[in-house]
């Protein structure tokens, strides 16, 4: 008996021996080919393991049933390799953080429409931003069909953005999730963020999150700025165009120690050349100069979980426009030569502190604080308009879960304070606003095909009262790559009627406010509900990826401050009586034609109508139909990273209703509708290396121009002077060139 057992043991051992005869030898190194001492090597799902010696070498028994070997070492990414043959194995471990960074760059797409987020979010990354090389945030949306860019007035040429057929005041425009372009900076604010400072933009259609306040109505735009930690050490960009605009951007980023990084970003632009191509005696584009300086501090401590950002920014901007021979020193206040100057000084501070509980990756909290002082001094002919806006914003957010990570919530408190001092011609309008609010947002995600966000906030505001803001988002995946979304939400805001409609000052229109005893300029707060549904379907066609999306949004005003341009001698502001509804429909497709070409097509339909005193009309200067297409191409990357990139954007803008001018003398009457027109922009970039690239491009290459953009331009102090009815470009085509140089 005993013999048998001993025999069988020997037999088994001998048998095992046969299998164990082979050993796998190898070496584990870091990226500099240095052997790693003490790395763990083991066969997956076994207890067979060894560690490496000083040279990083190891020997481990091998059996054919072992398939996967795991190599790990603290501070490095753990790798699992498949072993098929017993050859000498050399393996390079990557440092944990290095790999993550690589992964991020590899995944980067120029734009992406999220399949996973509950809200309808479109992300524009830096690569896409480079497609329209110019120049500031307002001009960054040219290759994006969700945002429409309009011209606000004939004098400053400022571009106004719109979403869902509503102007930018109805959007929440934030910088790193802190509301930024609001109040006094509503019209020019977007032009105050240089394009090179922007790292990415997130565009959310429809109702926003309650976390960022109650003001957003038709959507949110958030701009993430470049960060000292991840931005290039040194960056310089120069730009010049044929209508005399020169821009210079420089970035310096510096690592102070492991935890602190800082960056200094300087932007300057200038235009001194005078143009009057349409011979109306007025400058086609304003003379301008701007200095914009930002200093950022970034703090990260991975061990304790604290992160922080501090930003300081100073801006000085001056624009001059009006008649060609207007000289501010001589002619300011004169009634012979019409001119205008807009001078803005702005100081911003914002700070963020965040804490991620080290042992609880799902729990974090953050505090955002921002202060700004915006000071605009301006005159338009004989009309003075000055506004000073001081703003304080603070928001505390706590994130955690209920039970498990399928149920998340955000809750917190916000405090805001806004102080306005306004001078309109000779009347002062001063007001203070303050609010205290609390919010709670619950997010459910079944990790498969359904997610929902339910948010509610309660605010007490000294002028808007105490009110509840509910918002809801739903996402459902009915089948593969199909996403159905719905949203509903309420927004409330005080309209800064003058700051938002500054173009009115460059006209002879008389300003009327139909005072109804409300708290804001005698008017009531604006309240609207926004409803939306959208469907996104990803597809593969001829082995290339694409997606198609369809959305419909409606904004329904309970109250609106109606801006009535229908009498050419007046502009009137009054509370809505009746209906004001904005419907928008968009059909968009993105498709990669092959490795080199990407195509984006979009059709948009807008139906925006309001009950004016004189009747129900569609919103003036709002096309019903828009068509958009963007084609981009790039060549293969050569060895040193050299590459060509091409990009072209075509827009068709349908006919637009013009404000009623029937009561004007015949020579100052306009047609009921403007004609539709097409715009073409194109750009070519030559990348020489990772460090250097140049680009040239053209805007409005088909040279479309609005004839007589200024009514009554021959007599700017007369009764029919009006530069507010602008529906097409004034300048015509322009061409530009620039370069980018960076050192990492």
């Amino acid at each position: 008996m005993e013999k048998k057992i001993i025999f069988s043991i020997f037999f088994v051992l001998g048998f095992l021996q046969v299998f164990a005869q082979q050993t796998l030898k190898g070496k584990v190194t870091d990226k500099d080919k240095q052997g790693i001492l003490g790395a763990n090597i083991y066969w997956l799902n076994t207890s067979v393991g060894v560690t490496t010696n000083e040279e990083g070498k190891f020997q481990i028994p091998y059996k054919s049933i072992y398939k996967k070997i795991v190599i790990s070492f603290v501070g490095f990414k753990t790798d699992t390799l498949v072993v098929k043959e017993v050859n000498f194995l050399t393996h390079v471990l990557k440092e944990e953080s290095v790999l993550e960074e690589v992964a991020i760059t590899a995944q980067k797409k120029a734009t992406s429409r999220s399949f996973l987020q509950t809200q309808n979010v479109f992300t524009v990354n830096s690569e896409e931003l480079l497609k329209a090389a110019c120049c500031n945030l307002a001009e960054s949306f040219e290759t994006n069909p969700s945002i429409d860019v309009n011209f606000s007035d004939a004098l400053t040429g400022t571009r106004q953005i719109q979403m869902l057929g509503l102007n930018s005041p109805y959007l929440l425009i934030a910088q790193e999730n802190i509301p930024m372009v609001r109040g006094a900076s509503q019209v020019y604010g977007l032009t105050f963020t240089p394009g090179t400072w922007v790292e990415s933009i997130q565009i959310t259609k429809g109702a926003g999150s309650v976390v960022n306040g109650f003001e957003s109505i038709s959507g949110q735009i958030n701009a993430e700025l470049v960060k000292p930690f991840s931005d290039k050490k040194f960056f310089i960009n120069g730009y010049g165009n044929l209508n005399g605009r020169l821009e210079l951007n420089t970035h310096f980023n510096h690592k102070i120690n492991k935890k602190w990084h800082t960056g200094l970003y300087i932007h300057g632009n200038i235009r001194t050349e005078k143009f009057d191509k349409n011979k109306d005696g007025f400058l086609d584009t304003p003379l301008a100069e701007q200095i914009n300086v930002m200093n950022r501090w970034q703090f990260t401590n991975n061990e304790t979980g604290w992160v922080s950002f501090l930003n300081f920014r100073f801006l000085n901007d001056r624009k001059q426009t009006g008649q060609l021979n207007f000289n501010p020193d001589l002619h300011k206040g004169s009634n012979t030569i019409w001119g205008s100057e807009i001078k803005t000084k702005r100081f911003d501070f914002s700070g963020k502190v965040g804490y991620v509980f080290p042992e609880l990756p799902f729990q974090s909290m953050g505090l955002q604080i921002a202060f700004s002082n915006h000071d605009q001094e301006s005159y338009f002919g004989l009309r003075d308009y000055n506004i000073n806006h001081q703003s304080v914003y603070s928001n505390f957010i706590f994130n955690s879960i209920i039970g498990d990570t399928r149920h998340k919530f955000k809750t917190g408190l916000s405090v805001t304070y806004d102080k306005y001092n306004e001078l309109v011609e000779t009347t002062n309008f001063d007001r203070n606003e303050n609010s205290l609010g609390a919010f709670f947002e619950y997010a459910y995600d079944n990790t498969e095909n359904f997610s929902a966000t339910l948010g509610v906030r309660l605010d007490h505001h000294n002028l808007l009262g105490t009110f509840v803001t509910p918002r809801m988002h739903l996402r459902y995946v009915p089948w593969e790559k199909g996403v159905l979304r719905a949203s509903i939400g309420r927004g409330k805001r005080s309209a800064n009627i003058f700051a938002e409609n500054q173009q009115l000052f460059a006209s002879s229109r008389q300003i009327n406010i139909n005072n109804s005893g409300g708290n804001i300029y005698g008017l009531n707060p604006e309240i609207a509900w926004n409803y939306g549904v959208s469907f996104l379907q990803g597809f593969r066609f001829l082995d290339e990826k694409g997606d198609i999306s369809l959305d419909f949004y409606q904004t329904n005003f309970e109250n609106q401050v109606v801006v009535d341009w229908e009498n050419p001698q007046q502009i009137s502001f009054y509370n809505l009586e009746g209906r004001s509804v904005a419907n928008s429909f968009q059909l968009e497709t993105n498709y990669r034609l092959n490795h080199h070409f990407n195509l984006r097509l979009a059709y948009k339909f807008f139906d925006v109508t309001t009950d004016y005193v004189s009747g129900n009309f569609s919103k003036p200067i709002q096309p019903k139909h828009r068509f958009f297409t963007n084609l981009s191409a790039e060549t293969h990357k050569r060895k040193k990273g050299s590459q060509w990139k091409f990009d072209a954007t075509y827009n068709f803008i349908g006919k637009q209703r013009l404000p009623n001018t029937n009561s004007n003398p015949t020579q100052f009457q306009l047609a009921e509708y403007s004609k539709g027109y097409s715009l073409l922009n194109a750009q070519m970039t030559r990348i020489f290396s990772e460090n250097f690239e140049v680009y040239v491009g053209g805007e409005n290459m088909t040279n479309v121009k609005q004839k007589n953009p200024i009514l009554g331009s021959e007599n700017p102090f007369g009764a029919n002077f009006d530069s507010t009815i602008v529906y097409a470009p004034i300048f015509g085509s322009t061409f530009y060139a620039g370069f980018r140089f960076k050192i990492d």
């Binding site: 997956l44 753990t78 498990d404 498969e448």
Partner: protein, 122 residues
């Protein structure tokens, strides 16, 4: 008086041993076999569906599943059982043949060819 002190001591000891034993947020690293993004979803979902599991994150490369659990409500074995029921092997529990066979073709992590296929893609 003595009695009270003893009682308090006992209580404290009781509480502290209780606290040692059953943490509200205990972090565990489990090795779970799988190959791809689909596995990741399935593994994390199976873990999360276990009552008492608060957080789950699986790393495709290292096969490590990090979970944060409420030890008063669950334990490692329960989590592993649920993972096995979903078709994924752990050291503590192996998936039954039925559960494993029910996996999508691309997730057959016991098959060397499938693993190679995924590594090629990477």
């Amino acid at each position: 008086m003595k009695k009270i002190i003893i009682l308090i001591c006992v209580l404290f000891v009781g509480i502290s041993t209780e606290a040692q034993k059953k943490k509200k947020n205990a972090k565990l690293i489990l090795e779970v076999d799988g190959v791809c993004g689909m596995c990741k979803k399935r593994i994390e979902k199976a873990a999360l569906k276990t009552k008492g599991v608060k957080f789950a994150s699986w790393n495709v490369q290292s096969h490590e599943l990090m979970v944060i659990i409420d030890e008063r409500k669950t334990n490692e074995v329960k989590v592993c059982e649920n993972l096995a029921n979903a078709g994924h092997d752990t050291k503590k529990a192996k998936a039954s043949k039925e559960a494993y066979d029910a996996l999508h073709e691309c997730c057959k992590y016991r098959n060397g060819e499938v693993i190679e296929e995924h590594q090629k893609k990477q």
